[in-house]
Amino acid sequence: MKCQDVLNQVFQMVFANRTLNVQPEMTPNDIDGWDSMAHVNLIAAVEARFHIKFATKELRSIETVGDLGALIDGKIG
């Protein structure tokens, strides 16, 4: 399964929305419930699903779904 597909599953689980279809250009303004509290859950879920850890500096660079995807790609090669 592609990284983007797995990431989409994580978003669906975190935001309890099975119809969610995330795109790289999407921001927190485009996804209902993606506030700072939910962001913490999103990052924890991504870390658990992909078995990776983000540094604080990396987290601050995430503004879009694409930013998050690129960080994941960079870690899992």
Binding site: M13, V14, D32, N41, A45, K57
Partner: protein
Amino acid sequence: MTTNLGDICKDAPDSGGKTDWTALRLIRPDFSVRAFSFGEIDSLASQFANVLEEIGEGGGQTIAILLSKCAEVFYGVLGTLKARSVVLPLFSNFGDLALVDRLADCAATCVLTKRSSVARLQRIRAQLPALRTILLTDSDRDLEPGVLSLPARLARASDVYQSRPVERETPSLLHYTSGSTGKPKGVLHVHGGLGYLQHTAREILQLRPDDLYWCTADHGWITGTSYGLIAPWSLGITQVQFTGAYDPDRWFRVLESQPVTVWYTAPTALRMLMRTEEFDFRRYDLTRLRSIFSVGEPLNPEISRWATEVLGHEIYDTWFQTETGGIMIANRPGMPVRPGSMGKPVSGISAAILDAEATICPPRMIGRLSLRYPWPSMFCDYLHRSDVYRARFSAQYYDSGDLAHQDEDGYFWFSARNDDVINTSGHLVSPFEVESSLLELPEVAESAAIGVPDPVVFEAVVVFVALRQGVEAGEDLPMRIRLHVANRLSAVATPREVVFVDKIPKNKSGKILRRVLRARYLGQDPGDISTIEDQP
């Protein structure tokens, strides 16, 4: 009779009667600004009140607002009050269970929200028989019967609404608060508390007509309505509001660029700022910032010291509750701050530390923090729970549920809650609600939730889970448990940690012994455990 709270922008005295005086500078995440004058806000509130009348939601209904920060929240609250309906501001990230508990309890007939929340509301609509109308801020047309467009109705609504004076005891605002047991309770306020909110805004926040004031609290909190809307606007003060999420750089750009002169925020936000690595606070010019206030959780002394050193300002901590409506005890400019202290009572408020016999404790003895009643902004009831309301009052005092002590000089010092409620980032989370949501999972046989000390959010939620016989805790189960709580209640209630246990300790009447779990988790002596059921 008293002034209708919905008319505060029309009547704001310090704007000198000028309706073009700026009431709100709404800053979007891209830093574009939409400014609203007092006249515009009042006109929009009048239009909103007329819309409510048109759709049969004026006069005595309960209107819920399920939106993150945006202009519609502000004029929606005021318009609902003008129409003499009760307004229930909700956190926009509430999950299904949290929404059902609140909307069903108060029999809300209308929810003001966005299209993206319609599916969430339709999922639970069968459990909300009173709900007639979903009013959408971002749809130009009605989607179906009962799912209506606000913009289409605002466009044809008159901007004149003749609101009538109201009785002092006319219900106005409803906020829900959580306890150790049972469902959340609806704390009902009345139109009559305005004078006290103004008093505290002058005496404690020391707001002046030329201030640019920023209260970061969401309107789901009493702080967001009392001090992020009603008090400042009733005094003609211009407010700054940022619609984006917490972000150190953006927050400091707001403080610098507006420039904000009085900032009211939360200890969690300050602690997060303090721990933000590689962030140079000194590159922001905060010379126009006069005062920083905080509310929601106790303010650690180290934050005070950090703020003085790095931001060049003391932080004035304030204390109040959903039930008190306004600030009761506070630090303030002009009074020496004792880092870690709650400060002293507002003038006109009598606070005391009482022991179990309701006798005033000597200095430094911990007891129940109590307030002599009445005071003007106090709540008038717990909705449908008048028995619980009455139980909070003795002959002379209201019991806050907090434990504290007072020093020889009259400063109050918070100690702990007198119950199992978890204060995380200033949100009171009910362990009962967390446990109830966990029991919805098919794998979970028993559960318990506790709060444990946390250096950033004050208390973190930790849950203990006993699985059903034959169920194994797979790798993904802790995350599923955490997200289930987040989605059913709220992201703020997300457990920090899931601990799997064989059995939840209970006493012989079945009450969960959370103090035992807390002590074991923290490696402390659990004390008397003789009452645990089946204790070996």
